[in-house]
Amino acid sequence: MAKAKLMDFDKALEMFEPVLGFEVHVELSTKTKMFSAAPNFFGGDPNTNITPTCLGLPGSLPVVNEQAIRYSISLGLALGCSIAPTSRFARKNYFYPDTPKNYQISQYDEPIAFEGEVEIELADGRSFTIPIERAHMEEDAGKLTHVGGSTGRIQGADYSLVDYNRAGVPLVEIVTKPIFGAAADAPELAKAYVATIRDIVVALGISDARMERGNLRCDANVSLRPHGQEKLGTRTETKNVNSLRSVERAVRYEIQRQAAILADGGTITQETRHWHEDTGTTSPGRPKSDADDYRYFPEPDLLPVVPAPELIEELRAALPEKPAERRRRLKADWGFSDLEFQDVVNSGLLVEITETVAAGAAPQSARKWWTGEVARLANIKNVEPAELVTAAQIAELQQLVDEGALNDRLARQVLEFVIAGEGSPRDIVATKGLAVVSDDGALIAAIDEALLAQPDVLEKIRDGKVQAAGAVIGAVMKAMGGTADAGRVRELVLERAKQV
């Protein structure tokens, strides 16, 4: 595939106004699926978490999951939406082998939640209001694996395997209205919007919201129009954007790509595009037009959803604080400086740090780990920090440091083993013998040996030239393979110098 021509980002914005729109799919963490009693657990052996309904077997029927309705209402309320007194499921008809019935049960003209807005914050603290058009419920499809061929895509594959464990997992799709006025902030706004949705669903406790696992998926719509033009430009819809970083990069890329085409007098094809994390580019998917005919009609197997007004009020009363309020509260609770807190927010690590603090770590320690070593390693590996370790693991690591079992350097080493999947921090300390040596006997032996090997240094120390101890400390640390606590070695060197 020829590499797409890109226009310089700043120049693109001089010429065009980007208009954004997002469709974010949130997988709800209900116990069972949207329309069947199958466990809502994606993973395990293929085609094991299924019922006749998940497979669309002859005669099977859907039954709505009440918990999914409650979760969807809560999410709608958190997005500032109105909740429809009556909403309805519809069938979206299309043939595709990952869709067991060859129609998806979704909501069409009567979604459960509509007309809301979400406040997001950019890195410099400016806030932006994203208008929400609707949030509707639907079921996920199965997962196809294309075997053979080089690309892993359906084209050129020898055959395809399908796993229906995911078929019927409950989803809420959140659709924004067109977002105007983002200008050069567009990529950052995209990232902040998705991060805010993530924070909301995590705070609601309705989704695991792990982008890398597909719990939260974002389709980013981008179009450009010349400044001052009323009519919207032709949009593309970029899919497969599986991290916050990718959302930002994909939007930036599409702006640059489309600008180059338009500036050359070309036209944008309305289509879905596929984001490639590795190359940081998008490639065309299937052409998409407003004329796509899914032959929607009301799902006759299901009754309309008519939530009791009391239920809606009960869920409204139970809503967690909004992300912006929460940020203000956390900043105060944790005692972070403006700079420290902004850094946390911008790194998208608020959730991780909150969880780490909840798991027992001091806020400052939690912050240092996530924005420091974990972020550094994640950057090298080009993944999200949360994909590397869990909050519980970081909290455990910090506890080992607090106990004095690990020094900073050893703790970083343990972290790498944790990331490599070799076990919990405590297990790794035990199995790798990485703990700080606190047995003074072994240290003293090593110190005595080092002191006697450098009699001139020993003399200096005895003469009160304490800084000379450095050479001995270094030798001891080396002899101990780094497992010694440097502070303790220093103390002992000064002590032993008087005695040997």
């Binding site: 006749p52 077997l57 002859p58 005669g59 029927l61 060859n102 032959r295 009609f297 197997d301 299901l302």
Partner: protein
Amino acid sequence: MSDLTRLTAADLAAALASGDTTSVEVTQAHLDRIAAVDGDVHAFLHVNPQVSLDAAKASDARRKAGTPAGALDGVPIAIKDVLVTTDMPSTSGSKILEGWMSPYDATPVTKIREAGLVPLGKTNMDEFAMGSSTEHSAYGPTRNPWDLDRIPGGSGGGSAAAVAAFEAPLALGSDTGGSIRQPAHITGTVGVKPTYGGVSRYGAIALASSLDQIGPVARTVLDTALLHDVIAGHDPHDSTSLKQEWPSMADAVRKANVTGLRIGVMTELDGDGFQPGVLARFHESLELLKAEGAEIVPVSLPSLAYAVAAYYLILPAEASSNLAKFDSVRFGLRVNPVGGGTVEQVMSATREAGFGDEVKRRIILGTYALSAGYYDAYYGSAQRVRTLVQRDFTAAFANVDVLASPTAPTTAWKLGEQLDDPLAMWRGDIATIPANLAGIPGISLPAGLADEDGLPVGIQFLAPAREDARLYNVGGALEALLASKWGGSILDKAPALTGGTR
């Protein structure tokens, strides 16, 4: 005992309860009857004597232990092939499901098993219940026991013929636009379409979800009531099944009394387009009821003029979506195009080979009716007509207790006679379709034989939703009046089947 196959389900239940016979004897008698005559009738697509006899033995053991599972424990029953079963194939009359073994039982099947009934086999039907003659079965037509050259009605011609030919005392059917009631009319048997939601649809291979309803088929009104009582009730697997306690339909038959009952005659279904013999028996039946104390009043439901047209948009629309799952990916027939192909090509080749003409006709029609730009004009208009039909019924039932009409315009026609004229066949559903559009219950029971051809004629009663018991009341009363007039059952007049003619 005399010929066990001539007994009603109620009589068999009594004989089983008293120990005069055993379920094994009863079941064997019916299996023998099937072996003798079904070569001619072809009511069954699948019979497995061993499975039936095992169930019969288990029933006898329960009776012996004094723990019968219910009044009908040990009584045999035939099951329309639209209902999925774990121990017999379920094809819905289609090649695309040939040999399909379901991993689960349909809820009505579970209920009859739990009540101790003995499944005899699966009965023939128009493919996916699309048709009024059972000629659209992929496995060959069923023949009318009254005249083997004629159709048994449809789509449930197999269930009706099995009962009419004394191959089974009871059968399960499904009624989307008359598939239980019209075959009852055609074969001189009784069939009931319950209130929509009265019986679970779980495991009924869907034709049109908003119209489909499972119901009982038998030779007497009491037998249909006994079976209705077994299969009715809420099912958590079917969101559209009603959450309500149902009164005993059998009690309604036993206490039948039409004194003061107001019966509305739908004027739109009385006259033009109906065979004279059909109308004659209909009016005679009304006279009998009137003499018994019922009040007969004419009622007009103007929207019925549009019911057939609306039905033949709503049904294909829903069917086109319901039948999309038959694509060879997960189950059923798979046809690979010569030289292989993409998944779309395999789906296409499978559906081309696996579906019959009537099914393809309706899928294409339904796909068109739902298409962007046509939706409002077709599906949308049809739904508005449906609302009007519902309103007309609500208005009518404000003045009468039940409504009456002939079940269908004509008696049984000759096999092949209407195959080239699908619209004529669709128009034949004019009297049965409105109940499905409105979700209300309906019964068809024999009203006699048409003078011009000597073939059975049915009368239909309709009641408001959830008032199924009214049908059993009026049906039970009329049946008793007719039986005393005829000196027996209408099926006594049917020609004896000797078997082996085909």
